[in-house]
């Protein structure tokens, strides 16, 4: 076989493999949406799950996924941006910074079930909260913390490049420069990272099994207390999310239409993740256009 023939054959193989992967994706996404095609049904999206009979909905779980996302962002964003500021503007090259970076690598590589177990130990048992929104949100915050730190650090470094000297030259302190100039410039980029992370948070399950728990008490939207068990906004109630619910349906299957619900719930879940991804991309493009346009 000549080398030219080999070249053609291998090129062909690479084409086949790549097209196969794309087709596989299309099939997977197609299947998810086909099997879940009846999900866009108000009684499914806003109805409560039923016990032992068919026709249940996913309203409390859907709400829990959102609520969990928001509460965890409240925790992760201040910490992640703070750590990003530290690494970009205050940390000096040296042992301490190396150790911190090693810690971030370590945190980033923890399997999510291990994080969930740590959460069980500390946020559920030690604090006495039991399975709760807060415990779940903290476990999720832990998982997202390394990536948000990295996103923030990158955004801050690139935002600070042109303007830091100018600001310091005017007599501003480092923190003033960061708070009043650099963070506002970096915010869109950080936000893009946050939206992207939200997609992952929405789909997270292993870390929530033993922190937010596997039960979703019915939610009474008339009460707004942060602590009462039936209040949807209570931080201290168990909060099974949509992804955990799918898993539970599969492992316990207590209703006759468990398969069907799982199909529809999966479609909803993937749709939400897609929405987050697309929004993040659009925001990213807007930022890119704005900066390359102006300069």
């Amino acid at each position: 076989m000549t080398s030219k023939q080999k070249d053609k054959i291998w090129t062909g193989i690479l084409y086949v493999v790549s097209i196969f992967v794309v087709i596989l994706l299309l099939i997977l996404i197609g299947l998810i949406f086909y099997k879940g095609r009846n999900a866009l049904n108000l009684s499914f999206l806003f109805g409560n799950p039923k016990v032992a009979e068919a026709g249940g909905g996913i309203a409390p779980m859907f709400f829990n996924s959102f609520y969990m996302l928001i509460v965890s962002l409240f925790i992760t964003i201040p910490l992640g941006v703070g750590a990003g500021i530290f690494l970009a503007e205050y940390a000096k090259e040296g042992r301490l910074t190396d150790i911190i970076r090693l810690c971030i690598e370590t945190l980033a590589s923890l399997p999510s079930i291990v994080v969930g177990l740590f959460g069980l130990l500390v946020f559920v048992k030690m604090t006495g909260w039991g399975f709760s929104v807060l415990a779940g949100a903290m476990a999720i915050a832990l998982i997202n913390f390394p990536s948000l730190t990295r996103v923030s650090e990158d955004a801050i470094r690139s935002a600070s490049a042109n303007v830091k000297e100018g600001s310091l030259g005017l007599g501003a302190t480092t923190w003033q420069t960061i708070a009043k100039l650099i963070i506002p410039i970096a915010m869109p980029q950080i936000l893009t990272g946050v939206i992207l992370a939200s997609g992952r948070i929405f789909g997270e399950s292993a870390a929530l099994l033993f922190t937010a728990g596997m039960s979703a008490p019915p939610l009474n939207f008339d009460s707004i207390s942060l602590a009462a068990r039936s209040s949807p906004f209570s931080l201290f109630r168990p909060a099974e999310t949509l992804s955990v619910y799918i898993w539970k349906l599969n492992s316990e299957g207590m209703v006759p239409d468990a398969s069907d619900i799982a199909n529809k719930a999966s479609a909803v879940l993937v749709m939400m993740v897609l929405l987050f991804n697309v929004s993040s991309r659009m925001l990213g493009k807007k930022i890119h256009d704005k900066y390359s346009g102006e300069n």
Binding site: W10, V22, L25, I100, V114, L142, F202
Partner: protein
Amino acid sequence: MENKKFITKLKNEYLGRTYAFACGLFIIILTLSIIFFIFTKGIATFTKDGVSLAEFLFSTVWKPEGSPKSFGALIFIAGSTLVSVGAVILSAPISVALAIFMHYISPKFGSKVLQPALELFVGIPSVVYGWLGFSILLPMLKAGFGGIGFSLLAGIIVLSVMILPTIASISADAVKVVPANYMEASYGLGATRWQTISKVIVPAAKGGILTGVVLGLARAFGEAMAVQMVIGNSIKLADGLYSSTSTLTSILAMDMGNTATGSTWNDALWSMALLLLIISFIFILIIRVIGKRGE
């Protein structure tokens, strides 16, 4: 006058700087506490309950409620290893092929189709992969090979799809940074494109590709939900690709909620969590070593 100045400084620099430093320090504290808590919980099996480390690591007899009780975790260790290595064997060649295709065969198709496709793959939550595996792959396997469908093979297939984007994107980055003059030299000598790719580019990108593979391996090892849904969860060593078995992550997902805190059974599960933690450290170390050798 001195006081006013100090308050201004406080507002303009010290408070903010302290906050940033605190976030940085928090990273270290967080990492250390995760290690500490899981470690202390995990070694209780050996220190408090008297199970021998050798039995835990090398015995395949897992009878936490039998008489006599036995806590050999080799089944799960083997299960995790086999399913992860299998997934990498299946996925790595395809991923590297994608990486090469994206950069050298058809960059336009690569950036417009493959890259978004890979991002979509990443976005699909693990429960959905598990559910698709359960509802579509298992029946296919049952039809093709008979039996129950739940198997090591099912786990391998599902995991390989999940880790494909990881290995592909890191390999793509590695393949991208091969210096142009290597390629010019190769073409200048009359080599075909495939010869240049296989004999020059891939070897030059070896370090990065290897890093991608190890990261994929680590991800597969830590995956809980998707694996648990298709692997069968039988407490036995896999005696073939088509045999059902369990992994460290799957047994944790299933049993942690059913065991009493403080019981040896529960402690043994924590030891498995500790084992997962240690294994993720080992992966980090391996990646760092690869990185250093690359330089």
